[in-house]
Symmetry: C2
Subunit: 449 residues, 2 copies
């Protein structure tokens, strides 16, 4: 029987980080990462294989971080876990004994059972699998009309990229706006405006009744009765956690089907951890179970699991997801962290919001200047920042990370008003009206008024 | 006699922010801003007038923020302040009575007295004055060879911009490296490499003995005896605070010649404040007097002064400068906040440093990906971040601001290791190896042994 100290199941972002952070913390232990795929793709990069990148070979995670850290890689699939004996059984017939086990089994695109036509040829999902993505690319070659069902960030990113490659793309979204779960309405409207100006058709508030076709896709029938011609359909209506293995091993799942974990990322078995899309999430602020799946959140969980494998640290716990994320449509970035105004109000928070529209360079006559909008959502009594949204240029991602830090550290509006920031004509907005501080001043004025 | 509640002297960044933030906090008070210049230029934008912008008209602060806030603007010069009577006398013969006074009188380029030839024609300084800058631009028209004396960030930025316009530029710097006060050596070497590759000549460790010429500049004589031909010289060897007015009024200056202030930005007279380049600065970490002059620091001080004019708040104090700043050479950004390793060690801190070199997009095959280097300087025992440096692309400024927040909030390496960050292929590095967290991991490994 093979033997390892720590066995990580799954080779995407969270699995990789759990193994590398764990090995760095406990260098004396043997670490093995087992994954099904010969080559792991960079999950966030997948939409860009359809446009900006020259193919899936440009979106490979690479094994260097693992091998350099001294983690063994095994390409195989765990098909059963024996908690009592502490042994995993693999598809290729191996038995691997472990001391600690980490589930990083990820998630799979949802294919709605009630939707007719999902089995037609040229109906695709965005599966995190290189060979499958390559097969989509090959099939897409001669096709022109693409309908994307679902306007979340995967649907939007894939659509924008396919549009870059000259496809005729239509997004059909059930909610009133695309990206409607991540942003407040005024931000989503801006996203729709930009995406439309780039040539993507968007139909919102529209349910899909059926995917039409005979053997292969020919169109999409909406609940309204309208038919849209389609040579291909991209189904991006969400992901569900891969938990059959965990559940088969007797580990608890929560009501949403995620593997239950505590703040050290441990399952009910203290020797078994779960991280990433398969692991239970709780919202940092509302404390409610969350369905958010993000590689960056998964990596934060994985780092915490890795550090706590053999020795717990109350300082290194995962205290709930702030759902921090960003995306780009053309040259415009969109970012969000914490609660949106909509969700904060629905959850019962008494909030004040402050929005400021400035620029990402200064003076705004500098070449390449982009509009920069910051919206803050602040708890009225506490004055702490509960959430923030950004529309900007190339610095949108890191601006969103500033918001993320402010939320995680429960910083107040006061600490933003007194913050020292660095500014430069090419790299930031003006020091006299830095958008983040200006938005805080809007809040201050509302607090007083 | 004219009368106002709050009189702000100086119309550059700090003066503007003091007036606007003050008026927003105390809307019932009358605010007047008095400045010499008809039009105030954006200070940080001045170097870019020499290249990226089409002239000084594109670098105007504009009066809108003041007029919209309800601040009166007066173009005139205060020539005397009577503390006892609370009256300012102006060059145009007005007497203005005030209740509170804010000095935002800024700074002026240093012209070394011992240096021969500074009075020659075509010897320029970077004075924050639109008409003077316009006159340099006009005189530069037909000139080819420029020598910049002083390789601080103003010297570097102006040189890079003049080089863009086809000038033949040489920087002469006394220290071993350009930008040597802001960054550690390895970062300055990178800056020199990039600047040289763009065609700027750099001579470091070289003192200037004399500016040569007969009526107008013909060259620069170095201490080494070498002569460099020059049609023009840009003298950028530092700035000194404008404090003659304050000192004439009987206000205390510190040893370095700045107006003494407390953490509310008050002078010894509680009705008189000072902010920006003319105001005393203390280092946030070393607690020593600092000579750092940055518009962004000045604006932070000004915001604090504005809020404390009539009602003090212990929450809103200025606790010392973190000297946070960023600059760009071509497409490459350079940023720093807090202490460099060199300064930390010189001041007696026991530090651990961690440097990580990654990318600003992911996978690094994404178009436009730029190398991203983060260096952290951490107190060995406390584990708190004392300083950080960044080399990167378009997100360098906001990444530096993340470091700034970490330093100001005295966050530890642990809180970086457990931080949730948002990532996106176009906008940030990879979640599996985000440079800031990776640099923290380097520190962690060194801490352990």
């Amino acid at each position: 029987m093979e033997k390892t100290d720590v066995l990580v199941i799954g080779g995407s972002a969270a699995g990789l980080v759990a193994a590398v952070a764990g090995k760095a913390t406990y260098p004396e232990k043997a670490f093995t990462l087992i994954r099904k795929e010969k080559q792991a793709v960079v999950p966030c990069g997948i939409p860009y294989i359809f446009g900006s990148l020259r193919g899936s070979d440009e979106d490979i995670m690479g094994d260097d971080p693992l091998t350099q850290a001294g983690v063994d890689i095994k390409v195989d699939e765990v098909i059963a876990v024996d908690q009592k004996e502490k042994v995993c059984k693999t598809r290729n017939g191996s038995d691997i004994a472990f001391d600690k086990l980490v589930f990083a089994t990820g998630s799979t695109p949802v294919i709605p059972k009630w939707l007719k036509g999902t089995d037609l040829d040229n109906v695709f999902t965005i599966l995190k699998d290189k060979e499958y993505i390559d097969s989509i690319l090959a099939k897409m070659e001669g096709l022109k009309k693409v309908v994307t069902i679902g306007g979340g960030f995967i649907g939007v990113e894939v659509s924008d990229e396919l549009n870059k490659r000259g496809k005729d793309v239509t997004i059909v979204e059930l909610l009133p706006h695309i990206l409607g779960l991540a942003f407040d309405e005024e931000i989503t409207i801006e996203a729709e405006k930009i995406l439309r100006s780039r040539g993507v058709r968007i139909m919102t508030g529209q349910g899909v009744k059926e995917i039409l076709g005979n053997g292969r896709v020919s169109g999409v029938l909406l609940n309204s009765g309208e038919k849209i011609d389609a040579d291909a359909v991209v189904l991006s209506v969400g992901y569900r956690p891969n938990t059959a293995l965990a559940s088969g091993a007797g580990l608890d799942l929560n009501d949403r089907g995620f593997i239950r974990v505590d703040e050290y990322m441990r399952t009910q078995n203290p020797d078994i951890f779960a991280v990433g899309d398969c692991a239970e999430k709780r919202d940092f602020i509302t404390r409610r179970p969350s369905g958010v799946m993000l590689a960056s959140t998964g990596c934060a969980e994985a780092r915490i699991a890795g550090m706590n494998l053999y020795k717990l640290s109350t300082i290194k716990t995962f205290n709930g997801t702030i759902a921090i994320f960003c995306t780009a449509i053309g040259e415009t970035g969109f970012g969000a962290a914490g609660l949106t105004e909509t969700i904060a109000k629905r959850e019962g928070f008494d909030v004040i919001t402050g929005t400021f529209e400035g620029f990402d360079k200064h003076p705004s006559t500098m070449p390449g200047t982009h509009k920069l909008v910051i919206k803050l959502i602040v708890g009225r009594e506490l004055g702490a920042v509960l959430g923030g949204e950004v529309i900007g240029g190339a610095s949108t991602g890191e601006l969103t990370n500033i918001l993320g830090l402010i939320i995680q550290k429960r910083l107040s509006i006061d600490s933003m008003l007194t913050a020292q920031i660095g500014t430069h004509p090419m790299l930031t907005g003006t020091p006299t009206a830095y958008s983040l501080i200006q938005a805080a001043e809007v809040i201050l004025r509302k607090q007083k008024g």
